[in-house]
Amino acid sequence: MENSLDPAPPLLEVRGISKSFGAVRALQEVDFTVRAGEIHALLGENGAGKSTLIKVVTGVFPRDAGVVRLGGEEVAPRSAKAAVQAGIATVYQEVNLLPNLSVAQNLFLDRQPMRFGVVREGEMRRRAKALLTEFGLDIDVAASLGDYSVAIQHVTAIARAVDLSARVLILDEPTASLDRHEVEILFRIMRQLAKRGIGIVFVSHFLDQVYEISDRITVLRNGRLVGEREIASLPRLELIQMMLGRELAETTNARAAAGEHKVREVCARFDNYGKAGYVAPFNLELRHGEVVGLAGLLGSGRTETARLVFGAERADGGQARVEGVPVRLQSPRDGVRHGFGYCPEERKTDGIVAELTVRENIVLALQAKRGLHRPLSRREQDEIARRYVKMLDIRPPDPERPVGLLSGGNQQKVLLARWLATSPRLLVLDEPTRGIDVGAHAEIIRLIRELCDDGLALLVISSELDEIVTYSDRVVVLRDRAHVEELSGEAIDVTNILAAIAADGAAMQEARA
């Protein structure tokens, strides 16, 4: 696809990059080109090598082979800082700024305006204000960065990167934790920066967003380059095929029409359950073989409901029943004892134990449930780990690898395996597909359906309304920390959910269509 008549020389030219970790070849002879003023999406499944490519280009990992040229000149940064000085800046999904410092301090960290060895706070704030205004942000720059939303933290990180004279700006999953409105702001800023001639690399799992914002895409698969295309001339199905390398089954509504009218046994039931200032009292019935979706905007009380149901948070009123028997859910241990499982939204901080192996992470909940005096023998552990690594296709299929080294999608699978190993009756999944690529995404959704067919009760939170509609038997809609509507059967569709979320009219445009 190289256009020899293209007059503009590429801004960032990556040629023949290879990188291995031990025996694992993470990147093999990968080429990657970013032109000045373009927004270039870098796509691929989990483990395709996107993160590794970024880290090699920015000098976080040393490379085994290949060259990187910036504006025609060869560069070989040996650290992220050197890369920034060379003009390649990266903003990661988890913003790596200091939440306890002010916005201004974060913007000018390491290069504060000084006079006589003293930081000129006023000057710094003035310049910070001016800088953020360029990005359409009018906030108090003296306040702690941590007090602001993730979106503002992202914009601050980008502003800092651009101000450090970035010529190439790499955004790794920048929209993963933003709502629709915040994504708009980010996209506006990206377009602005592209117009200035900055080359932007956009890593995302949201194909809608890729089509909306990108000029060109590069697809990686299993550490190799699949191809580089103009987005305008690339049908979506073809893109997905490039990413997955296989024919994709047509997306259908997975809800089994036959089972809809079957009366299913109640697994757990919550009456007037709630906690003041957390979630308003709600009634919720979870049945075996049924998926209940929780829909609502960020902060509407979805995660809070999940935590109450699991026992991670104590209710101050109402009654919980498991299989008809009243129970008290005071702690996660209680939840686990009653056969509940909970995959939290924040995989890294609340889910995995990064240092421990895949095997140890998988057996953790089962072992906790069995108690200290009934340890799983090493052979049992190996057997369980092997079974789930195979069943969920966890990659790389090495149970002894520290789980922190796995990609996000595989970490999510490890967490699912952890709970499946306990043979739960109810599984609570909070954003199970967030930050996961399309392939694993489809797999997780298929898994949800399969688990449900096996008689498990599921409570699933997702911001992706299409997704919720696909697998839910019933959908509970939340607004302002209260359950406002329950949809079932024919009534479950995106329009109805949106209507329920936006019942007061104002939130309509906020919701993700």
Binding site: S20, F21, G22, A312, P332, R333, G335, V336, R337, Y342, P344, T349, D350, G351, I352, V353, A354, E355, L356, E360, V363, L364, A365, Q367, A368, K369, R370, G371, L372, H373, R374, P375, L376, R418
Partner: protein, 330 residues
């Protein structure tokens, strides 16, 4: 036993061998052993015997550190249990003396564990309280004097021998095996490592992280109480001011030399004990060399630095060198 002695132990074993070799240079009779009155004597036995208190402390300390905690009070707990044992030794039998001393240890551990696990205090501050107060308590028990005793049973505990092996060494080995059996024979080891690695995630996975933390502080204090009894038995008296003084730092050092991170998570009992032996081998070597004991501190610092450099991920240190020798990438 592979779980107790991971491959990463190479650095520690090499360090111990080097120090032993240096000791041999300084003192040609270093490896000589002789049997006298049914008890083995020699520098090596001396290292093991003198190393017992720190080795016992490190057994408990390594578990506490694995949960991302620290216990500064072990030296003070030694003083308390020593004082209790010495006060009771001449009026009660050995079982009562031991039960009282270890019982006090359990109480101390419950106190520390309560502050950390239930009240959520930072371990370094929580255990500082008992570190300071503990010596006061010990002095109250001894009424400010050095309490001496002559109970042959208790003296035997510090100076006797079983099949030629001094009793303290036997106790330390027994405690190592017992702790190993408890920790690796049950699920405790995994759950402690999970708690230290990510307490929030472990809690959500249903691990009783509070009970776990409480248990390791209790065990740490029990180990310290035992070390206190042995230290008192050794000198046939309890000195509330000096028993176990600064040994908490040696214990922490032993754990760190043994490769367990102060950030919690993975731990190794055997390597922690090996760390204690490395420290004691250095101490003994310097004494034998005739250099003033002040050198001890300097040499200790140098060896600690060396071991930590070998373990440093930044230098990719020892494993990096080994990997290069084997011709593979780390």
């Amino acid at each position: 036993m592979t779980a107790l002695l991971p491959r990463r132990g190479l650095a520690q074993i090499l360090a111990l061998i080097v120090i032993l070799a240096v000791d041999r240079l300084v003192s040609p009779q270093f490896f000589d052993l002789r049997l006298q009155d049914g008890r083995l004597f020699g520098s090596l036995i001396d290292v093991l015997n003198r190393g017992t208190p720190v080795a016992l402390l490190s057994l408990g300390m390594v578990l506490v550190i694995a949960t991302r905690g620290i216990d500064l009070s072990v030296g003070a707990v030694m003083a308390i249990s020593g004082a209790v044992a010495a006060s009771l030794a001449d009026s009660h039998g050995l079982p009562v003396v031991l039960a009282a001393a270890l019982g006090i240890g359990i109480l101390c551990g419950l106190w520390n564990g309560f502050l950390v696990a239930v009240l959520g205090m930072q371990p370094i501050v929580a255990t500082l309280i008992l570190m300071v107060a503990g010596r006061g308590i010990a002095q109250l028990i001894t009424e400010g004097r050095i309490v001496t005793f002559s109970s042959p049973d208790l003296v035997w505990l510090g100076n006797g021998a079983i099949l030629g092996v001094p009793v303290p060494i036997t106790i330390a080995v027994g405690m190592l095996i017992l702790t190993g059996a408890i920790v690796r024979g049950s699920a405790l080891g995994l759950l402690i490592e999970a708690t230290g690695g990510n307490a929030r995630a472990s809690e959500l996975a249903g691990v009783g992280t509070r009970a776990m933390i409480l248990a390791v502080y209790v065990w740490c204090s029990v180990c310290a109480a035992l070390a206190g009894v042995i230290a008192a038995a050794d000198i046939m008296g309890a000195d509330a001011n000096n028993a176990g003084l600064w040994l908490e730092l040696d214990a922490i050092l032993a754990v760190v030399i043994g490769g367990t991170s102060l950030f919690g998570g993975r731990f190794s009992l055997i390597l922690a004990v090996l760390g204690a032996l490395i420290i004691q081998t250095m101490n003994t070597g310097i004494l034998l060399s005739g250099y003033p004991p002040e050198f001890n501190l300097l040499v200790k610092a140098v060896v600690v630095l060396a071991v930590l450099l070998l373990q440093s991920p930044k230098l990719s240190g020892f494993s990096g060198i080994m990997a290069r020798l084997r011709g593979t990438k780390p």
